[in-house]
């Protein structure tokens, strides 16, 4: 087979440059995180990890993720079903709307929520009357995180479901299946991987959101600090090792995400090659 760029010299050069750049831009930062975290030895690392506030931040981050991911999962599925299975006026508009969070700077995202749910905002003022606090408490953090991560699942599903078409679902209808049966037995198995992939991405972003959360969190130690905010605060408290300890936790999570994604892709590729 004759392919462009297959001359050994060209190939070696390009691979070499690619590897060096990857090492410099991607691998090195990763190594640096762990190196900095372990700078003070493993004992200090554990001590930092088991710090009361770090534990609280881990807890809050988990809470936010556990709420955000299922909500966006459900929403993403409904949206994808809607825009790929039905034709209705405003379909394209809806698809464009869902991209807004990608275009909005996280700080702006935080700002708009603050404007709405802050005590001076019209919704926030009204809620304040009932003593319900959204901003500077976990509900606010969850809300902005949902905002920032809401496109991921839908964006994975829509192209796939569009490509797959509705034929199998139609076949199921002609065979008498109800809506729930169709979804559970026909659609879900087809989109399982994209769904999982969407969840992984949502999860990664939900865990790591910084800009939007920092606007609405209020930085109460042990209460509204998520892990990324904790990283920032520790970093500013002269506690580099502590900051990188939390950072290493997040980096570990990132690596798990990458591994999960690679595993999924590998399985999909294998299934394809078998089929």
């Amino acid at each position: 087979m004759i392919r462009i760029g297959d001359a050994p010299g060209v190939r070696r050069l390009l691979i070499g440059v690619a590897l060096v750049l990857t090492a410099l831009f991607l691998l090195l930062p990763l190594v640096a995180i762990f190196a900095q975290a372990l700078m003070g030895g493993i004992d200090l690392y554990w001590q930092n990890l088991s710090d009361r506030y770090t534990l609280a931040a881990i807890g809050l981050t988990l809470l936010v993720t556990l709420l955000t991911v299922p909500i966006n999962l459900v929403f993403g599925i409904f949206l994808a079903w809607l825009v790929t299975r039905f034709n209705f006026p405003g379909r394209r508009l809806l698809q464009t709307l869902i991209d807004i969070p990608f275009a909005v700077s996280p700080v702006v995202a935080g700002l708009v929520y603050l404007l709405l749910y802050g005590r001076n905002g019209w919704l926030g003022g009204w809620l304040d009357g009932y003593d319900i606090q959204i901003m500077f408490a976990w509900p606010g953090i969850v809300l902005v995180t949902i905002f920032v991560t809401c496109p991921f699942v839908a964006r994975e599903l829509i192209p796939l479901m569009q490509a797959q078409g509705a034929r199998e679902e139609e076949a199921a209808v002609t065979l008498g299946a109800s809506g729930w049966t169709i979804f559970r037995r026909v659609t879900l198995p087809k989109i399982r991987h994209a769904l999982l992939y969407g969840v992984i991405l949502t999860n990664a972003r939900a865990v790591g959101e910084f800009g939007a959360v920092s606007v609405v969190a209020g930085a109460i130690r042990g209460q509204t600090n998520t892990l990324p905010l904790q990283v920032e605060q520790l970093y500013q408290d002269y506690n580099t090792v502590g900051a990188f300890t939390s950072a290493s936790l997040l980096a570990l999570l990132a690596l798990l995400t990458l591994a999960a994604k690679a595993a999924l892709e590998w399985r999909a590729a294998r299934r394809e090659s078998l089929a």
Partner: protein, 360 residues
């Protein structure tokens, strides 16, 4: 179950997919919808199935009007063009799907489902493949799974969209034959879509020829071939040679060629004929003086296909002659001969007109 389609029409945006259509299908008939791409075959089939809503008109299954009935309640089986098998389910589960989707009260027991599915797989000769996944089957096998799945709920009506379109010639032939047998055995009413003339002619009790959202002709295969209702049907059903010229005094003249066409109105006329209606001779006869040159020779099966060129022809004619005739005339490339049409067909607004010539 008979099907009565009255005044069904459908428009997509600016596209008129179906002009108002009437069609009566008798109980147990096997009907082929034949037409070029975009003629509205799939649209009509999907409307009958209830997968698409017509803009107007009614559909009856037997005495029951089903126009507003949801697909789920129409008791139809539908075989999709690319089968739409559930890829993640085994062959068995695909076929069992409809049974398992029944409301709990009506749903057969697991063992009954098993029996019924295995019986269906037996029927489509796939019992050995029950545990395979669709991707592990050949196209023809997938097609049969789709059929078994559609038949699992014992539909009154079976609808098939280009059931053999994606298969190669050999498998297609075999499946066609098999489908006809199945149809005769089970006796359901079926309606299938195809754009392959041979398939429609071979398989159907009656063929519905469509073009541009209209029904051009509804007839048995035999009638269709012999008495096409109009030019479209004639051209669509087989290869066609064209002869254009001026008719005067019962004779058509075109350059140095002429042929007697008794009964054809004078004026500029175009007549058509099929390759097997072209015979060859060493000499012209009074009724036909059509000098041609043999441009190419292709022996195919029982016949030899010839390409004939002439000054008076814009496009070459095709002729198919038997090997015997081929050898008798000692045909070679470049040989000059005379064409003797055994029949000429003329179509105009008024209808079809056939001219038989005393040849062959």
């Amino acid at each position: 179950m008979s099907i009565r389609i009255s005044q069904i029409d459908k428009t997509y945006g600016a596209t008129r997919a179906l002009e108002p259509i009437d069609l009566d299908i008798r109980d147990g008939e096997l009907i082929g919808l034949l037409g070029p791409s975009g003629s509205g075959k799939t649209t009509l089939l999907r409307i009958v199935a209830g997968l698409e809503q017509a803009d107007g008109g009614t559909i009856h299954f037997g005495e029951r009007e089903v126009t507003q009935v949801h697909v789920r309640e129409r008791r139809i089986g539908f075989v999709f063009q690319h089968y739409a098998l559930f890829r993640h389910m085994s062959v068995f589960e695909n076929v069992a799907f409809g049974l398992r989707a029944l409301p709990r009260r009506q749903r057969p027991s697991n063992s009954d489902i098993r029996t019924r599915v295995m019986q269906l797989l037996e029927m489509v000769r796939l019992s050995a493949f029950a545990e395979r996944f669709p991707a592990q089957l050949s196209g023809g096998q997938q097609q049969r799974v789709a059929l078994a799945r559609a038949l699992a709920l014992k539909p009154d009506v079976l609808l098939l969209d280009e059931p053999f379109g994606a298969l190669d010639a050999k498998v297609r032939q075999e499946l066609r034959r098999w489908l006809r047998h199945l149809h005769e055995e089970l006796g359901f009413t079926s309606l299938f879509v195809t754009h392959d003339q041979e398939e429609a002619l071979e398989l159907s009790d009656r063929v519905v020829v469509m073009s541009n959202g209209r029904v051009e002709q509804i007839a048995t295969p035999d009638t269709l071939y012999r008495e096409p209702a109009n030019r479209f049907v004639f051209e669509f059903l087989g290869e066609v040679n064209r002869l254009e010229g001026d008719v005067a005094n019962g004779r058509l003249t075109c350059g140095n060629a002429s042929v007697s066409v008794p009964g054809v109105e004078p004026g500029r006329r175009e007549l058509l004929l099929r390759p097997h209606e072209v015979h060859l001779a060493e000499h012209a006869i009074p009724a036909a003086h059509l000098p041609i040159t043999v441009a190419a020779i292709v022996p195919v099966g029982a016949e030899v296909r010839l390409e004939l060129e002439a000054d008076w022809l814009e496009e070459p004619w095709l002729a198919s002659v038997s090997h015997a005739e081929f050898e008798r005339l000692g045909i070679t490339r470049g040989r000059r001969l005379f064409a003797l049409p055994s029949r000429l067909h003329g179509f105009d607004a008024a209808g079809a007109q056939n001219v038989a010539l005393p040849v062959g």
